[in-house]
Symmetry: C2
Subunit: 467 residues, 2 copies
Amino acid sequence: METTSSVVIAVALLAVSATGFGDDAQLLRGAAEVRDQALAENRAYETVAGLTSEVGPRLAGSDGDRAAVAWAITRLKALGFDRVTTEDVSVPRWERGTAVARIVAPFPQTLATVALGGSIGTPANGIEAPVIQVESLAELKTLNRAQVEGHIVYLPGRMQRSRDGSGYGIAVAKRYGGPVAAASLGAVAVVIRSAGTSNARLAHTGATTYIPGKPRIPGFAISNPDADLLEYQLATGRSVRLNLTSTARSLPSVRSANVVAEMTGKDPAAGLILLAAHLDSWDLGTGAIDDGAGVAIVTEAARQVRLAGVPLRTIRVVLYANEERAVSGANAYLQAHIEELPRHVVATEADLGAGKVWRLSARVNEQHWPRIKDWMPVFQPLGIELGNNESRGGADIAILGRNGVPFVSLSHDASNYFDYHHTASDTLDKINPGDLSQAVAAYSALAYILANRKDDLGRVPTAANTR
Amino acid sequence: METTSSVVIAVALLAVSATGFGDDAQLLRGAAEVRDQALAENRAYETVAGLTSEVGPRLAGSDGDRAAVAWAITRLKALGFDRVTTEDVSVPRWERGTAVARIVAPFPQTLATVALGGSIGTPANGIEAPVIQVESLAELKTLNRAQVEGHIVYLPGRMQRSRDGSGYGIAVAKRYGGPVAAASLGAVAVVIRSAGTSNARLAHTGATTYIPGKPRIPGFAISNPDADLLEYQLATGRSVRLNLTSTARSLPSVRSANVVAEMTGKDPAAGLILLAAHLDSWDLGTGAIDDGAGVAIVTEAARQVRLAGVPLRTIRVVLYANEERAVSGANAYLQAHIEELPRHVVATEADLGAGKVWRLSARVNEQHWPRIKDWMPVFQPLGIELGNNESRGGADIAILGRNGVPFVSLSHDASNYFDYHHTASDTLDKINPGDLSQAVAAYSALAYILANRKDDLGRVPTAANTR
C-alpha cells in the first residue's frame, strides 16, 4: 500500500499543478488529499470482514438481518458518526428451504439448483414433467398453450461478461419474468440457466416476480455447468424429464430497518449528501461483494472526509433494508423523508462490488454537467475516466432520482462480479484489498467534493429519471 | 482447429527435416503425422462429453460406476477396439450421505463442507465441541493428549498453485493422516481446509485413511472461503465451537470392473504397451477432468495410432476401477496379469486433467533414457519440453513400475486443475477443447512411437520405483 500511495500522490500533485482549477482549485486539492489519505490507510476491509465474518448472510427479515442492523449501529458509532439511528421498514419475508432438481430421463443426474428468490415451493412430492427448452421470453410469447401446458419451461439464456456488467440486465429478464410468462401458458415450473458468469457448480439466486391474480409456478436456477448438462441431454432429441422439489415459502412481513448515520456538516442550510449501500444480502453467501463492500466503502468515505475536517454539508450514510427482494428500504426512506427531499443535494450509491472504480458519471441538471468534468484531475490518477450524464444511480437511490435528486456515480469494474454475486461464493476472499482501497479513495474524494462544494448540482427532470 | 493444425504441421516438418533422426527417422516421421492427424480431428471431446453427460458421477460401487462400465464397453467397441473385455474388481463401498458443519459460537454461521472419502459418520445428533487449530500434522505430533482431547482439530494448510501440481502432494497429507493422528490424542473429529485451490464455496473431497485397531473419528473438509471464515473467528481469540453432522457410511464391498480393450499389433512377440486412465470418479462432480479426460485421451490415442495402420505392438487401454478410494483396479490388474507382466513393454497414464501437455518424462532403464531425447522433435512443436528419468507414472501404473515396467509420462498443465478436481465443479465445461486436442496429439504421437519402435525400453530397477 505504501508504495502505491506514494506513486499516486506524486502523479496527483503533478495533475493538480498542471491544470487550472479556477474557483475549485482549493476544493480539488483537498479532494486529492483525502483520496491519498484513504489510499494510505482506511478501515473498509476491516468493516466488510466484520460484517461478513461476524454476521454473514442477512436476508431481509431473517435473524441475520436483525444481527446486521445491530452490528451496523455498533460499527458506525465506532467509526465516529455523529448520529446513528434506525428507521423502521416492513419487509416481506421468504424462506428458501431446500431445492432439489433431478434429470429423471434420459440420463439421470442431479443438478445444482436454487429456488429463485420469492418463488413459491412445489408440492411435497415435487413436480415431475417433460422439459421444453425455450430460447427467450420473446420466443415463449410466440408459443401456444398446447405446446407449453404441463411442461417445465427451461430458459437457457447465458449472461455475457463485461466490465460494466451490462449483460446482467439482459440475463435477469428471464428470472424476473419467466414464471409469470410460462404460467400463463400452463407450464408447471420454470428452470433458468443462472443469470451469472460463474463456472462453479453453484446456482445464482435473485428475485423473481408474480402478478397478483395470475397463476404462480415455482422458479429455479441451475448452475452454468448444469445448464450445459441439461442442454446436452435436450440436444439428443430424446424426451427429457425433470423432477423438481422446493420447500420455499413466504411468511408474513416483519420489521427491519434502514440504518441512517451522519457526519454533521458546518452549515445546516447547505443541505446533505446521501451515500447509499444496502445492508441486507441474499442468504447463500456472506454478502461480501453484494453489498458488504458498498457498506464498507460509503461508511469509510464519510469517515475519510470527516478526518480531513468538518465538511460544509452533512454526509448522510443510509444502509438500506431489503434491497434484494423489493427495495423496501428505499421506498420507506422516501416516505419518511419526503418533506426533507429538497435538502438532498445529491446522492451516490455503492452496490456493484469491490472492484476498482473505472468511470465517473452523473445525472445532474445539464447546466451543471460541464463542471463535473473539471473534477477529473482528482480521479484520473486512480485510472478513472469520465462517463456521461445518464447515470441510473443504483437500485436504492433510483427513487430519489425520480423525485429530482441528482446523482454522481462511480462504476466498479464488474468483469468478475457476476462470478460470485448472488451465489454461495459471495464471500470475503473475493475482495481484493488493493482494489477496495482504490474504490474507497475514489468515493472519499467524490464525497469530499460533494460535501464541500459551495454550489449544488441543481435538480433533474423527474420525467427523464423515470425511464 | 484447421488453422492451428496447419501451422503445427509446417513447424513439425521443418523440425523433422532439420534434425538427423538416424535409425528412427521413419518412426518419428510417422509419429509426427499421427500427431497432426489427431490435432486435425479427434473424438476425445465427444468421448468425455458422453461419459460426463450420460453417466456423470461414478463413485466405485455405485449405480453410476456400473453404468460407466456399460458405457465404456459400448464406447470402446464403437471406437474400433479389437477386444473389449471387463475384469472383475472387488471395491470397497462408501456412501457420502449428507454433511453439515455449523459454527455455533462465537458468531454462528453455516460452512460449506463435505465428508472426507471413506470417513465414518457422526452420531445422528452430531458432534459439538470446541475447535483447536493446529498448523500441521507435524505440530499435531508435538501436542499432548490434554491439549487435544475432546476437541475438533482444525488443520488449515493451504494448497499452493503450480503448473506441475506439486502443491497437492503436500496438501493431502493432512487429509490422509489427519483423522488417525488427531484420534490418537482423543480428538472427536477433524476438519481440514480443502486440499485444492478453488475459491468457490464448494469443499474438496478425496480419500482419508484409518488404521485397523486404532480409533476412528470423522473427517470433514471445508471450502477455502469457509476456512477463511473459521480462521477469522479463531483469530478473535474467543472459543470457537463447531457442530458437525455426517451420515457417511461404509457398506460391504461389491464387484466393479476394469475395462480392458486392445488395438491388436502385428507381432505378438513384440509385447504390448499399456495406456491407463481410471473410469471411476468422485461423486460430487461428473468426473470430467478426473478422469473422464484421461479416459478420452488414452482411448483416442490408441484409435489415432490404429487409424495410421496396424501397429507393431498391441496397444492395451485399461480403464481402471476405483482409483480414487483404494486403487483397487490397479491391484486387481497386477494379480490377474502377473504372468503376462514381461509382455508389458511400457506403460503411460493420463490422470491429471485435460490441460495442455508441457513435459515428457520417463522412468526407463538408464541406458535407454538418451534415446528418448531423440523423440523431442515430435513433441517440441506442441510446446512440450523434456523432463527427466524420474517419473512416478501415475496412481494406477505405479504398481507396474514397482514390478519393473518402464514408464513414459506426459505432464499436463495443472495450474487450474485443483480449482475443480474432487469438487462438484469437476464438469465438462472445465475442459478446453483445444487444450484437450493438444494432449490427444501428444499421447497419440507417444503411443505411436512406443507401439512401433522395434527396441523396448528395458526394465527398471524395482527398488528405485518403490520410493
